[in-house]
Amino acid sequence: MPSTWDSIRDQFPILAQQVNGHPLVYLDNAATTQKPLSVTRALDRFYALDNANVHRGLHALSMRSTDAYEGARSRVRAFINAEAPEEIIFTRGTTESINLVAASWGSANLRKGDVILLTEMEHHSNLVPWQLIAQRTGAIVRYVPVTGDEGLLDLASLDSLLTPQVKVLAFTHVSNTLGTINPAAELCARARKLGIVTVVDAAQSIGHMPVDVRAIGCDFLAFSGHKMASVTGIGVLYGRRALLDAMPPWQGGGGMISSVDFEGSRWKPSPERFEAGTPNFADAVALGVSCDFLDGLGRDKIQHHDGALAKEAYDRLSELPGIRILGPRGERGGLVSFAFDGVHAHDVVTFADEDGVALRGGHHCNQPLMKKLGLTSTVRASFYVYNVRSEIDALVASMARTLKFFA
């Protein structure tokens, strides 16, 4: 089944179900996306034909598995335009990727008094790992401010924040709460001029827009398969090769060693150095198929599609009484998050579920940002390739009903 915009919903059988007597309207894509048949079938086919442990194997199945796994690595390399497959490390997802950089690069490069610069809109997954390594090394975490509800980075503050103590700048490409698309290339260029290492959290951009690590000019980039039409349990850390080869291993185990003695061990270079143990090769193969699926649709077209839905949702939701919508009015990623005066997000989400509309309510792993904005939670509607305009009608109608109930 080729990926095509025609009859795209047929490629996602999960969407053809009723929830509480209504057709499912799945608007929780920023949490996880659904998987097309081409991806789940590839996974099933892999287990039915080729499955064997990768590397070190000389029998037919093992060679096929290895080729499929390394083929997926090359596919991902092309997908993000990295220079070499050795720059692609398979992980469980964004969170593990960022923990890997923070722990490995951080332990080798951060000293007491060094500054880790994040932004106020970081997801806990691009925040807590840095707090942990800061604790271990004595480094300090600072934050680029966000300009209130409009949700933009305060770039004017960067000049004073980019002190010589800053060793690493880590920021999200697209905010999972605000929908802000950050100027990644500009941020990386400014950091690079000062010799600051850059880490981009691409969890919310990778499946929704073109992502080119060389155009962005970042040193590291992290993302999850499950948010880009792929399966759970697989993700990627991209790293520039020179940096990776200078980093100590993080996890130890089979496959990442060059030699082991009772007294100590030597490591293989990247990517093996960072892939201890049996990797999740089957899901990696599925990730490669997801790259095909997204490129088949065209990532520029996806960005246009998701962004247009978000914009329309923004405009129509604005008309509801007592609503406060976060994030930029202009260009935004494919999501809208908002809060109502006097009705809590969880009650809204529970009512929406009654109407078959799947939303997320809560702090979206953005507690510090929420506190800054004086909120404890918002409702979030997030869109993907299979969503259609009529689903915005369902969303708005459900919100109106809930407001009426609690009025």
Partner: protein
């Protein structure tokens, strides 16, 4: 509205949510405790004045969904004037109601929360303020969190 949902949002609950009773700090409090529900961000402070073994006054403050706010409000009306032993007994009844959906034999406003059992993810919302109150009674400085127990 489905039967389940109207069971969840009963009039008693909506009323307590709209007009919370005993909300705010308690200047005369000699005990207090904070509770949170990390998964959804709900927070609840409970303040009380213990007079010997008896809860002379009790208030709450915090933020959360209608279920958690109504539960905290209703709880304060139920606990005021009770002994600490009675409070613990009431909590057991309440817990039974929200997890099993079985209404208690005696008529009680707590029965309004029977609908919660059909929404397992919301049980934590309903019990948060109760955990904080019991901790306050025990004088337990450790903060209540709905994650360390499965309700």
């Amino acid at each position: 509205m489905s039967a389940d949902l109207s069971d969840l949002y009963q009039n008693v609950i909506l009323d307590h949510n709209r007009r919370p009773r005993n909300r705010g700090k308690l200047p005369t409090a000699n005990r207090s405790a904070h509770g949170d529900n990390p998964s959804c961000g709900d927070q609840c402070d409970v303040f009380l004045r213990l007079d010997g073994d008896r809860i002379a006054e009790i208030t709450f403050d915090g933020s959360g969904c209608a279920i958690s706010q109504a539960s905290a409000s209703l709880m304060t009306t139920q606990l005021k004037g009770k002994t600490t032993t009675e409070a613990e007994k009431l909590y057991k009844e309440f817990h039974e109601i929200v997890t099993s959906g079985k209404e208690p034999e005696e008529i009680s406003d707590l029965a309004a929360f029977a609908g919660v059992h059909a929404f397992p993810a919301r049980i934590k919302c309903a019990t948060l303020s109760w955990h904080a109150a019991l901790n306050a009674i025990k004088g337990d400085a450790a903060q209540a969190t709905t994650e360390s127990h499965k309700d």
